[in-house]
Amino acid sequence: MTQKEKESLLKRIEKGLHEYYVAPYRRSFARAQRDEDDLFMLLVFAENMGVPNPAAYYTLELLPLVYDRFHEWHKRMGMERSPLDHIGCC
């Protein structure tokens, strides 16, 4: 084994160890972020799902920004079909 190969092996081990320690944290943060995003979607779509929303006028203008996430969201929330009659994403 040459010096160079040795170094790259060490690098690889280091990378693997780093990944080993960091991955669980990264996963929890990614989950937490996803939960926040889901909650946000719920707030934006609240009025359409029958939950009174004091600011429907203002959440509507966020609609264009979250519309394309709608399908993934309702699937993840355990709803096989789109919960809104007039959004026929699936």
């Binding site: 972020q33 359409n48 004091p54 007039h86």
Partner: protein, 327 residues
């Protein structure tokens, strides 16, 4: 008393029970201020507009010149809602395949008559008028809708800014998590499951969402600050010296106090004159009883009385002649 107050403030609201003469009194005050050299914008927030009827001419959603120094404007919530929804639906169209346009439009059409839409639209226009209006005018005078509607409108900026604040906090939290994920390096295991991929378009989207929310918050807090600033803004309650208007005035005053809006003057409109026969004299004595009730609860509020006139007040000349009676 009313004039002195009007001259010392930049924004003046006139509110009270339906039918007591809010429109007439606010128009007369506006005319008097314009007469003394100020540039005044008179704004009606009542969806059932009366300014046009009072001045006997068409006044719409854009400032209309009434006389030198006096412009009038009737906020049109339906028009505001339509414009707002049209913008949303056109930006949605950009995102959606053509065959889904009708779905999008159905969704938006349903929102048109959703509860609170008109209220929000009036609030939005009010915020614009307060923000832009003071650039072009020295004074803005609001002729508001009857008590309940207005009391609600006055607390709305606070409710709305709390609501946007909540949303912004949530977004910040989500952004922080996203940042941690980015710092911890690429993760392929969650890529298909998270909706917050850390690529550029995602960040772009996040910043757009935040911009919209921040713009909203700015509008609400700005309006809220102006309304609650008692050096700048004052609320005048108009009433008739009758039992129901008096009771409603006391209630409205309490509601406004809770929203920390300062009420600085009461205008008792259509008072019965004492020198016009037995019938009106008797009426005047009855009025004093009601006004005593009023004085008992709202002890320190200055009062301006305006006497009943034999003829209707219609047109600019009549409004100006009434303005001449204000002190």
């Amino acid at each position: 008393m009313l004039l002195k107050l009007a001259n010392s403030k930049k924004i003046l609201f006139f509110g009270g029970k339906g039918g007591v003469g809010k429109t007439t009194v606010s128009a007369a005050t506006a005319a008097a201020c314009a007469d003394s050299g100020a540039k005044v914008l008179l704004v009606s927030t009542d969806p059932a507009h009366n300014l046009g009827h009072l001045f006997d001419r068409t006044i719409g959603g854009t400032p209309t010149r009434i006389s030198a120094g006096l412009d009038a404007l009737e906020l049109d919530p339906q028009e505001t809602v339509n414009v707002h929804l049209k913008e949303i639906s056109s930006s949605l169209h950009k995102l959606m395949p053509t065959n889904l346009y009708s779905e999008v439009d159905k969704h938006i059409a349903l929102a048109k008559d959703a509860p609170g839409m008109h209220e929000a639209a009036i609030l939005e226009r009010m915020a614009d008028v307060v923000e832009d209006g003071l650039r072009d005018y020295d004074k803005i005078i609001f002729d508001t809708a009857p008590s309940g509607h207005t009391a609600r409108l006055m607390v709305l900026p606070e409710v709305m800014s709390a609501w946007t604040e909540g949303l912004i906090k949530r977004r910040e939290k989500a952004d922080r998590f996203a940042e941690f994920v980015r710092e911890l390096g690429e993760d392929t295991s969650m890529q298909d499951k998270t909706i917050g991929n850390a690529d550029d378009s995602e960040q772009e989207r996040e910043s757009q969402i935040r911009q919209i929310l921040l713009r909203r918050r700015h509008k609400f807090t700005h309006l809220r600050e102006r309304i609650a600033d008692s050096d700048m803004t004052s609320f005048v309650i108009v009433l008739a010296a009758e039992r129901l208007p008096v009771l409603e005035t006391i209630e409205l005053h309490e509601q406004l106090k809770q929203a920390s809006i300062s009420v600085d003057c009461l205008v008792v409109n259509k008072r019965a004159p004492t020198d016009s026969g037995e019938f009106l004299k008797e009426r005047q004595e009855q009025e004093e009883i009601h006004l005593a009730t009023l004085a008992k609860t709202l002890t320190s509020l200055p009062r301006q009385d305006i006497f009943l006139r034999p003829h209707d007040i219609v047109g600019l000349a009549a409004v100006e002649s009434m303005a001449g009676q204000l002190t």
